[in-house]
Symmetry: C2
Subunit: 231 residues, 2 copies
DNA sequence: TAACCTACCAAACACTTGTTAGGGAACCGA
DNA sequence: TCGGTTCCCTAACAAGTGTTTGGTAGGTTA
């Protein structure tokens, strides 16, 4: 996950650039390479956005640096003025997404809701996150599995663990309190709910017929009450 | 493993090779390249199996031909005795899976079940397919989106369309007959059911605690009746 | 005007990629 | 024994890969 939920970071406020050796991720940069810190973070975000789109559409490995540069209207080498590697572009995309995700999740988890309300809030928050970081979520889904093995992306595995703890814990609380059925395998239920929510990123398109909240409402209705008619 | 590893050799029965120009998919081989038809289809299947595993684990693009060959105990060039390209390996994996999938689906759809029973049968059949073709399903999920744009893999798009027709039709039938709720967006429900089932391939491991049938039972219970306790 | 910084280009580098061509060992039926 | 087939190896190829180096137009500051 991401360390202390650095959450907001430094958007807008003091232009104080992060000290050397400090990454937006908090994982210390043991690397000797001086990270190229662009003076205009806007251009950076712009490039990250187009890179994320291309990554999401064609997959990380199938995406060439030249393709990203092309989409951004520049040449491949020029990208290295802003980033020091293709991998660090991916890194920034994913960690920015996870930072924001956990900011939202932590707020929900700290609110002291009951199990059912917590699940509802988590699902809703998730769809909002999909709405905002569609590309990043798609990338995460495709690549996180084999990325998390890599030391640089260990925070993906950490995040997933924290994720499981939050959801599984809530579900177990719900079973104990009588809100959720006790005749189901909780781990299976967890994966069921988790997948149902996040796979939506593969077909969701912002600005579509349904708002994130509306989708969340219907998804919750299905997950909680089922699609069959009650007799 | 290593060279001599011819291992089992050919404990095969009839070496009857399929007629030329005929693909297991039915899509005519318009290609001019003479497809290398190995005399022992078992070795072929063996190689397809290991290739599928590597593809599933690391993604198609991230997988090098040398890696596949290595895993199979031979050198990269040797693969081209059995297949004429990396792409056609992928092609065979996917189409073999889809062939078997549709054999099962068509049987279910032709059985004349009611909507609810049809859904139950389709879900169960799907988990059986995941059990048998775990790797192929994982590959399909990761790559089908951008592959279906390619002419060679058009059958992926065709399959998906047929897929949607079958599931969506059954759901609509169920709503009309009063078996399923009518206050939900049917398309959303379709994607919901479809995704929940197939994403399971990403975590499912054959030989685990639950049999495909048991997983199907629990999934169906959740999808149909929900995870909340009824009052 | 001079010095400097930002954001890019142009051209190359080293390496990996999928693929091919030729050869050879083991086994087969005749 | 011989020719043929099967299955793999050796060695290379061309194209594409991420990345680096040096340069430079344009703006800002002094």
């Amino acid at each position: 996950m991401i360390p202390g939920g650095r959450s907001t970071g430094d958007d807008g406020t003091a232009p104080g650039r992060p000290g050397p050796g400090q990454d937006q991720n908090g994982h210390v940069a043991t690397t000797k390479k001086k990270t190229q810190v662009s003076a205009s973070p806007e251009r950076r975000r712009e490039l990250l956005g187009t890179a994320a789109e291309v990554f999401a559409a064609h997959g990380y490995n199938a995406t060439t640096v030249r393709r990203i540069a092309d989409e951004a209207g520049m040449l491949a080498g020029s990208l290295y003025y802003h980033f020091d590697s293709k991998e660090s572009i991916l890194d920034e995309i994913l960690s920015a997404f996870l930072d924001e995700l956990w900011a939202g999740y932590d707020a929900v988890l700290a609110a002291g809701f009951g199990p059912r309300e917590t699940i509802e809030a988590l699902v809703t928050e998730s769809f909002r996150e999909i709405d905002r970081h569609r590309a990043a979520v798609a990338i995460y889904q495709k690549e996180s599995r084999h990325l998390s093995a890599q030391p640089r992306f260990r925070y993906l595995a950490d995040s997933q663990q924290k994720f499981e703890k939050a959801w599984l814990g809530t579900l177990e609380r719900g079973v104990a309190s009588g809100a959720f059925r006790d005749d189901l395998d909780v781990r299976l239920t967890y994966r069921f709910v988790r997948d149902t929510v996040w796979v939506a990123a593969s077909w969701y398109r912002p600005g579509g017929r349904h708002s994130p909240e509306e989708i969340a409402r219907q998804y919750l209705s299905m997950v909680l009450d089922g699609i069959a008619v009650r007799d």
